[in-house]
Amino acid sequence: MAANVKVLKRRELTWWENTFLPSIYAGLVITSRHFFGNLAIHISHVFGLRKKERGSTTYQYPEEKRPLAHRYRTRHRLMKRDSGETRCVACMLCETICPAHCIAIVAKEHPDPDIEKMPASFDIDLGKCVYCGFCVEVCPEDAIRMDTGRLDIAAYSRGGMILNFDHLMNPELPVLDPAKPVAR
């Protein structure tokens, strides 16, 4: 079967278009239209009018957060059993698969022989994590997820980027930086 090839010819620009003046003019028109349009909306907001319309196209982070797709990968958390304990059995498959080598687990014996194994410590270095999600996919226990919706990951030192077991079990905790300077 012969391929059906469609030849597209690129249109040559005229000399007038080659000066770029018409494009610059058109761009300025669009920018000014948005500027004055937004300005008018913001002024109306001050007078309590047109509340339903958004005044600009950017998000005012951190006061305003952008809605995330539900598959979006964010800060990790460890899941809990009904008893409130971690589901993680310290199998180290996530540690093994992690391409950034940023997971470090130390295992210990679980008091219940039917569970056998649990993490004694579980650290994820977010400074190295590439958010690939492999750890979530590989986990045989559905013990780790990246669905906290938390993107506010910042610290004053590299050490501060390391999530420990408590952070992972309580995703609402901020990442605490021991080296954090006191508020000025």
């Binding site: 199998c91 295992a107 056998e116 194994k117």
Partner: protein, 538 residues
């Protein structure tokens, strides 16, 4: 000698050879669980099924003896089907909790499932649960009867090898369970070998359990230094996790390495857990009277002292206490430097309390290389105590001690007296009371941190290989000896232990004709006519 055909290839084997061994001779590995070359044959797992021409049923290759004209097929459709069915049967009640199972990664169920199984389980009843999940059955071993496939290797090991009869298989049918004979605990001196022979995760090592997944391990062939038997081992070290917290142990475990001439497949528990010494209690920096000092200053002082003594013609008053813990190469350099070059007062033995021994592997001599030391340095030497006495009399210009903990053997008083009479330089792997008392203690690498050879009590020369880097400032003693030779301008050009060994084999008769390559990882025994020394060392 029967001649038979396996998978189209002809092979001739001694009478009485089992098919599985005949196949191994051709490089064909037949899957097996219960068969172990070191144990009597049980033939109960049925995993090693092969097809034999003119035989209506599949046969187990671990039990059938090779016969003349036999035509065996290990890869026929029937044999494959047989093995798959056997595997499915073995897995019926198996928990398959590999994520929490310490065997995962070196488990024969996993390996053979990938190779021979890959079936969808046809069984959808509930699995029969055994009485208990993992519980300790002795100081070193944990048992999980749920994972056991009842191969009976552990039972045969304790019946035939240690003759301690701890294990038994109890009840019948799918209630069968491996367990200890009532009132017994698995605490014989070879107990942890059952962990190695258990093909699945039913028996696990309590010490190693959960410490490290096996796929993180690097493996280096070496020799156990626990006694003069020189059992062949494999040093398993943590290889893959540089990001792990600093300060954790580097060596994870020792495993026996098969050597039919020495330890067969086994090692004793004391040797197995001696890996802990590699990372703990180490001397990692030079010490001056117990306080951190500069290694260069210490090396410089000793080198200067040797050079000065030679100049003044007093080198015969340097005392050197070498050690049967040193490798053959190091002992040879000691001989070259201190005997040939300096004619120093040399010794390598001290009076020690008799060690525990048994009639299997453990020997009374707790040093790995006494036979080598006797061969290289000779047997007519003074004892270490005489050197101590000479030092105490002020008869020595310096006393150099390798490895020996004098305080522990001769007592702190004699050590102190010797240290008062002559400057004491101690080359040690570990901190102890002797290193505290020394004028300088210099850190040296231990056997896991360098390559070399040891000679065991049978006169077998065996290689050790470097598994990890020397800890802290320590370096192999042979390198330190080479540095001293540089200071004395002797023109040595040794780049590695291998080149020292080449010179050793050229000049010491017992080692004649040996080379690093011919030793390989199994070692080689001294020429006949030489092992008298070895016999004496035993």
């Amino acid at each position: 000698m029967p001649k038979l055909t396996i998978d189209g290839k002809e092979v001739e084997v001694p009478k009485g050879t089992r098919l599985i061994e005949a196949a191994r001779k051709l490089g064909i590995e037949v899957a097996h669980y219960c068969y172990h070359p070191g144990l009597p044959i049980a033939g109960n797992c049925r995993m090693c099924l092969v097809e034999i021409e003119k035989n209506p049923k599949l046969q187990i290759s671990c039990h059938i003896e090779a016969a003349d004209g036999m035509v065996v097929k290990t890869q026929s459709a029937l044999a494959k089907q047989g093995r798959q069915n056997t595997l499915e049967f073995l897995l019926l009640n198996h928990p398959v909790d590999c994520p929490v199972c310490d065997q995962a990664g070196e488990c024969k169920l996993q390996d053979y499932y990938m190779e021979h199984g890959l079936h969808d389980p046809k069984f959808d009843d509930n699995k029969v649960r055994k009485s208990k999940k993992a519980f300790p059955i002795g100081p070193n071993v944990m048992l999980d009867t749920e994972r056991c496939i009842l191969c009976s290797r552990c039972v045969r090991f304790t019946d035939e090898i240690t003759k301690t009869h701890e294990f038994g298989i109890f009840n019948r049918g799918d209630h069968s369970e491996v367990g200890l004979v009532p009132g017994k605990s698995l605490d014989n001196p070879y107990s942890a070998n059952v962990v190695d022979i258990c093909p699945v995760g039913a028996l696990t090592d309590r010490d190693f359990r959960f410490k490290c997944r096996v796929w993180y391990l690097g493996k280096t062939p070496s020799v156990c230094t626990g006694c003069s038997r020189g059992c062949n081992i494999e040093i398993d070290y943590d290889r893959l996790r540089p990001h792990k917290k600093a300060g954790h142990d580097r060596i994870m475990r020792f495993k026996p390495r098969e050597n039919s001439e020495v330890n067969k497949w086994w090692i004793c528990d004391a040797g197995r857990y001696s890996y802990k010494l590699i990372d703990h209690g180490r001397l990692v920096a030079a010490k001056q009277s117990g306080i951190d000092a500069s290694l260069d200053a210490a090396l410089g002082e000793v080198a200067g002292l040797l050079a000065k003594a030679r100049e003044q013609g007093r080198s015969g008053r340097i005392g050197v206490l070498a050690s049967p813990d040193m490798t053959n190469e190091e002992l040879f350099l000691v001989r070259q430097l201190f005997r040939e070059e300096l004619s120093a007062a040399l010794a390598f033995e001290m009076a020690e309390p008799a060690g525990h021994k048994d009639d299997f592997l453990i020997t009374a001599d707790k040093h790995p290389n006494r036979a080598g030391a006797r061969e290289i340095l000779g047997t007519g030497l003074a004892k270490g105590e005489e050197l101590l006495a000479r030092a105490a009399r002020g008869d020595l210009v310096a006393l150099l001690v390798f490895h020996w903990d004098i305080a522990a053997l001769a007592g702190a008083d004699r050590l102190a007296a010797a240290a008062r009479g002559a400057p004491l330089y101690v080359f040690a792997t570990h901190e102890n009371r002797t290193t505290y008392a020394a004028r300088f203690a210099l850190p040296v690498a231990n056997f896991a941190e360098q390559s070399g050879t040891f000679t065991n009590c049978q006169g077998r020369v065996q290689r050790i290989a470097k598994a990890v880097e020397p800890l802290g400032e320590s370096r192999p003693a042979w390198k330190i000896l080479c540095e001293f030779s540089d200071a004395l301008r002797l023109g040595w050009t040794h780049e590695s232990a291998e080149s020292v060994f080449a010179e050793l084999s050229a000049s010491v008769h017992a080692f004649a004709g040996m080379s690093w390559q011919t030793l390989g990882h199994a070692g080689a025994t001294w020429k006949q006519g030489q092992p008298q020394e070895a016999a004496a060392a035993r």
